[in-house]
Amino acid sequence: MIMDARSVPPGTVLEPEVCIVGAGAAGITLAREFIGSPFRVVLLESGGMHYDQRTEDLYEGQSVGRPFEDLTTCRLRYFGGTTNHWGGWCLPYDAIDFEPRDTLPYHGWPFSKPHLDPWYRRAQKVCRIGPYDYRPSHWGISPKEIPSPFSGPDFEVRILQVSSVQFGPVYAEELRRAPQLHVYLHANAFHFDAGENNAAVRELSVKTLSGIDFTVRARLYILAAGGIENARLLLTSGKQGGKGLGNAHDLVGRFFMVHLVYSGGVIAPAHPRMTFDFRSEGDYTGFGGKHPFVSFIGLPAASMRRRHLPNMMISWGYKFSPVVHAVNALKRVLEGEGPGGRLMADLSKVVGNLEGVADFAARKVLFGEGIPIEALEVHCASEQEPNPQSRVFLGSKRDRLGMREIVVDWQLVPEDKSKAIAILRLLGAEIGRAGFGRLHSSLANEGRWPSDFYGNEHQMGATRMHRDPKQGVVDENCRVHGVANLYVAGSSVFPTGGANNPTLTIVALALRLADHLKKVLA
């Protein structure tokens, strides 16, 4: 059932077996896994069912490192979390993302990808996407269609699947009907009390913006509040004046990383009418349904290993010849679209580029050719190296509830740029070698990042996973080192960020954690 925490009598003590903090992709996935189990679960969500600015303002914080996204807009603090505005891009992390790498410090997870595969398969169902099969050939992309630079050995075409699931609206009804599951909206987790020695959480204090305080005493607690808030809650919890929970080795908040997004440059194709039949997006009808997917360019693991490179997703946008405007105008004229004013403008465009339109029409009829491509714009999302100096920590300012706000000190290492340059040089060389065209790289020299460079909203690493408490905040089961009954879910546990979108991995890890917790509770 779903309740409003603002109507809970002050001083109430809830005593479920499991308390989950945060109703985003991880929290909702975890809660759903307990439906039908004998365990009572409380799911606390700071926001309501819809966006609310006062609640969103609880995300306010400071950025003191590299310019970082506005903390109140890159996340959403209401039921469903950031899936309320996500793009739905789903794919598992690559096997190499889980591996230790000789030349990439701090790289690797405590387990391999095959270990996570069973939960990835289940995550596909949670995200309501197609089968757990990401081979382009199984998505209607024939190897013959893939131009030489992108068919190995250094680059390859890959696909990702597109989910349309917003976890809040899609799963609310299921949670509402579950009798032993209590969702509290407008309920802000405020402080984990873990006694004098921080060995186990005794209770969690909860506050509402309307001024009501209550307490949750559970057997197990799971922090699923998001990539930054997970670290914030750990830092602000524990005994008064301490370093926070799970922070004996000053690791909470460190290794904060995101994906680095920027324009990689422009490819001038050798032939403006090159075919790109391996297309960048589409719907594939197969596997018993219609599934949207997007193709992109990636680096095969062998290439990354051989050249000591991190991961990168490369996508592209078409920049068509200006004749495209005239052709589109002609289509509208022929289809009788648009009001009178638009008609005249369209006609004028067609007449103004009659030669181009005639050339296009002739080529279309004779050779089935499309509109000539002037350039391909290259978009990159690359892996950030785990870096202990890149961190989030508590500031002195407090939010409306009295909790200290977060300070983001996002930092890169020189290798983040030099390796991005190396990948783009490799891309330029492959494009030239294959006679595909020439690359104008926006990162050709060791200068500045391109002007559109930014760190995206995939916030990872601030409570990283490692078997060794001196190297990680949580262990391989996502339990906070040194705290018997506190677990963390979400991308903050990722020790390595890869380049792929993180949500499917967040969901897979949540499913895995749920299975583990059921065993612990039993």
């Binding site: 440059g265 330029g428 060389a429 492959e430 494009i431 030239g432 070698r433 020439r438 690359l439 104008h440």
Partner: protein
């Protein structure tokens, strides 16, 4: 008269004999001479290829700036280009044949990391030299400078 004639013959024999001996000691000269003759024919085809890059002057200027100063005379650029074409087994019997060969050599350049960054564009060393030569030819005239 006879003495004089004999003297000239002996002189010529000595010169030729001495020249042959010098050439035997410096046989690479012959190879270079024949290369030069061949390159002269390649140079014509190369000038024609460069002539086709009519609107590439701006690129050519940028290429000139990107190359080491010592490499940017017409002669050295032509020698580099034709030398690489020859090493790759390419030919220059015609403008088209040379253009094809340059394309092949350029692909090899990319394969072997012989890449020059020109205003952000990643070009092969050979095509950079061709563009640079085209710019020099335009500035100095195909036969002068």
């Amino acid at each position: 008269m006879f003495r004089a004639t004999f003297g000239r013959r002996r002189l010529m024999a000595n010169v030729i004999g001495g020249g042959m001996a010098w050439l035997r000691r410096h046989d690479s000269f012959l190879a270079r001479l024949s290369d030069h003759v061949r390159w002269m024919s390649g140079y014509g085809a190369l000038a024609a290829v460069c002539g086709d890059l009519g609107n590439g002057y701006a690129i050519g200027r940028a290429c000139l700036e990107a190359l080491p100063t010592r490499d940017v005379s017409k002669g050295s650029l032509a020698r580099f280009i034709l030398g690489d074409v020859r090493s790759a087994g390419g030919g220059w019997s015609s403008k088209d044949a040379l253009a094809r060969s340059i394309r092949e050599v350029s692909r090899d350049d990319f394969r072997n990391g012989r890449i020059v960054i020109v205003d952000g564009w990643m070009l092969s060393l050979t095509e950079t030299r061709v563009y640079a030569l085209a710019a020099l030819l335009r500035e100095q005239g195909a036969t002068g400078g």
